[in-house]
Symmetry: C2
Subunit: 206 residues, 2 copies
């Protein structure tokens, strides 16, 4: 059913997910890619080191500072940002190729990045993943192996700032449990595929 | 999960479903009411005779032409229409009471009615249920016991006119199978509950 929706699609939809540190957006992106046909996670470029278990080309494209800056100079990023001292960016070409092929692209970008895409007037569905409480946010940051009290406070304080931006997004998902949050994300994706302006080709001929 | 969404809701959401004759919107409304807590189907008023199996107060409020016109004179209808010679209307009070109590209201109105509600600037989610083809539309009309060739043609021709209006709705659901259509309706309802402007009360305090 989900796949048959795309038969006549000329253009994929861009879904932009962002969330404060530790709200669990990466897992949700992967679940969406697994669930829907013709949906791909756009792999970001980053200058930070891979964490244990992360694969180059799957989780991120890990590049040097030099390569990143060259791409930046050539205007190849749809959005880019410096987060906690590292550079992150989304390749414009990667996304446009997916959308042209009728594949939905799901992007996992921070609030600054989402803002850049939005300010360029790109049509997309903007989804903010919020933690159910600031406490749960702290727990997830700690679980990630961030131990220094200063670093935890720094991330929590930026999480608070980011939460204040949630209201300009199209949707807000409270990530209380992964199942609930994914049920909502899945629903938003299905709903957006059924927006009237996207359904014109599917209406019976008059 | 679905019910806990409503704890802090101050105001319900109005979902307006319309469809050409025989696209199956009434069944979908009932399924939504069964599935979601705090969702009620607004029962329309009509001057037509009850069909077999229809109950007064559940399927419609069956009223006389005289009573209907009195209500009309008192401005009690959010929308009203004459369809195939009968009057149909939705009580403004019924809907407003539901929404104030934090109950979502699902309305089952024809295209003329939906247009009236929209033109009054009422905030709501407008959903068009379309048949997968004009043939399937004809079959459903015939199954309803409409036998006269003229009457079938009349209804089909108004279905075609109504299909042309689908594009001003927020969403279009192709009713190919009931399961698919309900999955989409359910997704739209969940997605709308998670619209950013409705989620403000649920964000963690900063």
């Amino acid at each position: 059913m989900v796949s048959s929706m795309n038969i006549k699609d000329e253009h994929g939809i861009m879904f932009i997910l962002s969330a404060p540190s530790g709200a669990g957006k990466t897992t949700l992106c992967r679940m969406a890619v697994d669930h829907f046909d013709k949906m791909q996670h756009s792999v970001s470029y980053t200058t930070r080191e891979p964490r244990e278990g992360e694969n180059d080309g799957r989780d991120y494209n890990f590049v040097s500072q030099h390569t990143f800056k060259e791409m930046l100079d050539r205007g190849e990023f749809l959005e880019w940002a410096e987060v906690h001292g590292y550079l992150y960016g989304t390749s414009k070409d990667d996304i446009e190729r997916l959308l042209r092929e009728g594949v939905d692209a799901i992007l996992d970008v921070d609030v600054q990045g989402a803002r850049q895409i939005k300010s360029k007037g790109k049509e997309g569905v903007y989804i903010f993943i919020a933690p159910p409480s600031l406490n749960s946010c702290r727990e997830r940051i700690e679980k990630r192996g961030v131990n220094s009290k200063d670093e935890i406070e720094k991330r929590l304080s930026s999480a608070k700032k980011e939460l204040a931006e949630a209201l300009w997004y199209d949707y807000i998902i409270i990530n209380d449990t992964l199942d609930n949050a994914f049920n909502k994300l899945r629903s938003i994706i299905i709903a957006e595929k059924n927006r009237a302006f996207r359904m014109k080709p599917y209406l019976p001929e008059n």
